[in-house]
């Protein structure tokens, strides 16, 4: 991406931003920082000023553009629906080609391209979470051929706090008799972190590999517990198999009557992950899953669905500015606490990590669960 392309793709869009400011109170970064360069309006104005030659790419521009969560709350509150998230990601591409970006992104890209994951781990370790399930042999869920592929994603594979998600999801699918496989070391990062890092051009090899694996296995469906993987496959991968978020798939299983559930006496609130809800449009399936479990009472947060507040974990912010990401999580935790629910349920490993991690650091008693985990608990 360069200025000529940036102008082509975004100039009309940023010009339609009429600086009304309606997006300001919805932008978590502005709520935390309280300065204009942290607003969606400001990010649009920076982009326009650079295109018009009134500002240069600089470290100051980098600070504003790389402190966006890509959460999309601004667009949901904007009458002309300016897509600041897309604008910001294009800016990041320009900044990368100018050499002005958080250098930690280079390491991330290196890990992804060399190891196939974000954690600089041997990619074969992706199977590690299976050890959480007692009494199964190693690589139990990895098959040569299957109808359904469960794409686990990097975070749930490598971060201990999130490994219970694939363990729960696999158990549920196993119980329901689904013919499925996970990819183990054959799963490569979907490429999403590279989009956030302003390096989407590096994704091609990842896409090619992952698509080939799906074809080899002959699956008709690929299922994701990670909303960002799901979003990336839906928007950047060629169409082939059907791509489904975990909750959409679980709703199918529940409808077919393949799961027997016992009551859980619990009051929950549901956190809509940005990439699942606002950015891909999946709002009702997770709520259907919750309502299918007897005894579960759902209380909504004041801001839900399109208006949800990001957990703070979006757009690579946790990597670039962890403290800012944590302060956004504080906003989310306050919203959760206001519901009086016993448990906050999400359907994203990143939300789970950000919210639970922050709560623990601040010694706030808060139970955070993934939707797959709650469902696994309810299984007879």
């Amino acid at each position: 991406m360069n200025l000529v392309k940036l102008r082509k793709f975004t100039y009309e869009e940023v010009t339609r931003c009429n600086r009304c400011g309606f997006c300001l109170p919805s932008c978590p970064i502005y709520l935390v920082k309280g300065i204009e360069s942290a607003t969606p309006r400001g990010r649009n104005a920076i982009t326009r000023a650079v295109i018009e030659g009134r500002l240069q790419w600089s470290g100051e521009v980098e600070k504003s553009i790389f402190s966006c969560l890509g959460c999309g709350a601004c667009t949901a509150n904007c009458f002309p629906a300016i897509k600041t998230r897309d604008i910001v990601f294009r800016d990041r591409e320009c900044l990368v080609s100018e050499g002005i970006y958080p250098k930690i992104a280079d390491r991330l890209a290196q890990y992804i391209l060399e190891e196939g994951n974000i954690s600089n781990e041997n990619n074969e370790e992706r199977a590690e979470w299976q050890e959480l399930i007692k009494g199964i042999p190693e690589h139990y869920f990895e098959k040569e051929k299957a109808d359904v592929i469960y794409f686990v994603g990097c975070v749930a594979s490598f971060f201990p706090l999130a490994q219970k998600i694939p363990a729960s999801m696999a158990m549920v699918m196993e119980k329901a008799g689904v013919d499925f496989t996970v990819l183990g070391g054959q799963e490569w990062c979907c490429g999403y972190p590279l989009i956030g890092a302003g390096m989407p051009d590096k994704m091609d090899a990842l896409i090619k590999h992952n698509v080939e694996v799906v074809e080899r296995i002959g699956a008709t469906k690929v299922v994701f517990t990670c909303p960002s993987c799901y979003h990336t496959w839906k928007h950047f991968y060629p169409s082939g198999a059907e791509y489904l978020s975990a909750s959409e798939f679980l709703v199918e299983l529940l409808r077919e009557g393949n799961l027997e559930l016992k009551p859980l006496d619990v009051k929950v609130t549901y956190h809509d992950p940005c990439d699942l809800g606002r950015n891909t449009g999946v709002y009702e399936p997770p709520r259907k899953v919750l309502s299918s479990i007897p005894g579960v009472e759902l209380v909504e947060m004041e801001k839900n669905r399109q208006l949800t507040t990001c957990c703070g974990g979006g757009g690579n912010l946790e990597m670039v500015e962890p403290e800012l990401s944590g302060k956004v999580a504080d906003l989310k935790i306050a919203e959760i606490q206001a519901t009086g629910a016993d448990v906050v349920v999400s359907s994203c490993q990143q939300c789970l990590r950000t919210i639970a991690g922050r709560a623990r650091r601040r010694k706030i008693p808060l139970i955070v669960k993934d939707i797959t985990e709650l469902l696994a608990e309810a299984m007879v």
Binding site: E12, T15, I35, S37, L55, E60, V61, F79, P80
Partner: protein, 458 residues
């Protein structure tokens, strides 16, 4: 004083992290929701009255302009630093300090968002009435600065009718109180002078506002018309009958089209105009009033009246109305709003003239406005990157304001003068009038440091 030294002094006053002066920051604090642009020399985020006072004193000593700023959503260039200077952004001073239910007052810092206060109060059954369409982002400091109005101000009055007192910082940094919790204070009404002065006479650091009980019942109706004239005549007739609805808002088909592209508010796209009529008050009697309004609408050829069935439907109708300005950039990239006010009986005639101006210059004009107050908001649509079209739009805007002034109205109902409407001040004030204003300004700000270059033409 050298710039570096001034910045160092500011940092000493408010803390290093609360002074911004990068190229990016100075550019971003150069705009507001108008089309004007300027450039600040520094931006300060004060955390207390004392800090505001320190900064203003420094500005006074050094003759540096000082510009108070809330969310920067004013539509007239009110926060644009035309002569550079220090922008005081109140985002950190955003606390609701006291809710005094027995005395029916609240005390707030200037950076509190209008809707945040209203939401908090409504939970306790109370109302802060002024509701600019920008209430979800505007600050109370900004509302005071502009004397903002909104749909419900038809019945409840504009901001100035709700400000009882304020702690203010004067031009030299002196901190003082004006007014207070008492509903009436002896002597000159200095509070009235400061509300609407766009930060040119004093800077408010605490504001005491009047609150009222939330109405027991509300009825919201959408009256649909095939002609703008019928809709306008309905407005005059309702008021003439002595009925004061909570709101009487009008929207034409251009605006409805833009809004419906943004949210599904449920506006009819084949109609010429709609009125949003809201009645509120005690449950008893509301039906009778509604029947009367219905009858007046029918007399003026209303095509259909829809009653909002529940709170969700009411919220949808209002969401569309409140986002109307922003929505029109779906039709063309930019808009300019002419905030003229005319006597209600002149509405049909003036609206026709406005549309004539649009035709004459080949510009698309949309209308969405506080019809009950006769406060028009013709939105002239254009592309500011096309210099010629921009100039034509500005010419058209000026002509529209002239039409309002000539009809016995005025050039700004609520959006203020800032810099955008300076020239048009001559349409309604004589040189003597303006000189009187200059004398007041000189008395309250002898060195012209408070938001210089605004409101009064030189």
């Amino acid at each position: 004083m050298e710039r570096e030294e001034a910045i160092r002094k500011l940092q000493e006053s408010v803390g290093e992290e609360n002074v911004l002066f990068s190229d990016v920051d100075l550019t971003l604090y150069g705009y507001d929701a108008s089309l004007e642009k300027g450039r600040a020399d520094a931006v300060v985020l004060p955390g207390s009255t004392d800090q505001v006072s320190l900064v203003v004193r420094l500005a006074y000593q050094e003759g540096i302009p000082i510009i108070a700023r809330g969310s920067g959503t004013n539509l007239s260039g009110g926060t644009v630093p035309v002569r550079g200077g220090i922008v005081l952004h109140f985002s950190r001073m955003n606390k609701i300090l006291e809710v005094d239910i027995p005395n029916r007052t609240v005390t707030v810092e200037p950076g509190v968002i209008t809707l945040d206060l209203q939401t908090m109060l409504l939970k306790q059954g109370f109302l802060y009435a002024p509701d600019p369409a920008s209430q979800k982002v505007s600050t109370l400091g900004g509302n005071v600065g502009e004397n903002s109005g909104g749909p419900h101000c038809l019945k409840y009055g504009v901001t100035t009718n709700h400000v009882l007192g304020a702690e203010v910082v004067l031009y030299d940094g002196t901190v003082t109180w004006i007014g207070g919790k008492n509903p009436d204070n002896p002597g000159y009404d200095l509070m009235g002078l400061i509300v609407g002065s766009e930060g040119t006479l004093a800077i408010a650091t605490k504001i005491i506002l009047r609150i009222i009980r939330a109405p027991e019942a509300i009825k919201t109706m959408l009256a649909i018309y095939d002609s703008i004239e019928d809709a306008s005549n309905t407005v005059s007739a309702i008021i003439a009958e002595g009925i004061v609805p909570a709101t009487l808002e009008m929207m034409d088909h251009v605006v409805m089209e833009a809004v419906e592209k943004s949210v599904q508010a449920g506006y009819p796209l084949d109609a010429a105009a709609v009125l949003i009529i809201e009645l509120d008050g005690l449950k008893d009697g509301l039906d009778r009033q509604a029947a009367k309004v219905l009858e007046i609408c029918k007399r003026h050829n209303v095509r259909e009246i829809q009653l909002a069935r529940d709170e969700a439907e009411r919220a949808r109708l209002w969401a569309g109305r409140k986002g109307a300005f922003g929505a029109v950039t779906r039709l063309r990239p930019c808009y300019m709003v002419c905030d003229g006010t005319v006597p209600r009986t002149k509405l049909p005639e003036v609206l026709n003239q406005v549309m004539e101006v649009g035709k004459k210059y080949g510009l698309l004009i949309g209308n969405v406005f506080h019809a009950g107050d006769g406060n028009l908001h013709p939105l002239i649509l254009f592309d500011e990157r096309d210099e010629a079209e921009k100039n034509t739009a500005m010419k058209a805007a000026s002509e529209i304001l002239k039409i309002c002034a000539d009809a016995g109205g005025t050039i700004s109902g609520e959006h203020g003068i800032g810099i955008e409407k300076l020239r048009e001040m001559n349409f309604i004030f004589t040189e003597d009038d303006l000189e009187t204003m200059r004398k007041i300004k000189r008395a309250m700000d002898p060195k012209d440091v408070l938001n210089p270059g605004k409101v009064i033409p030189n």
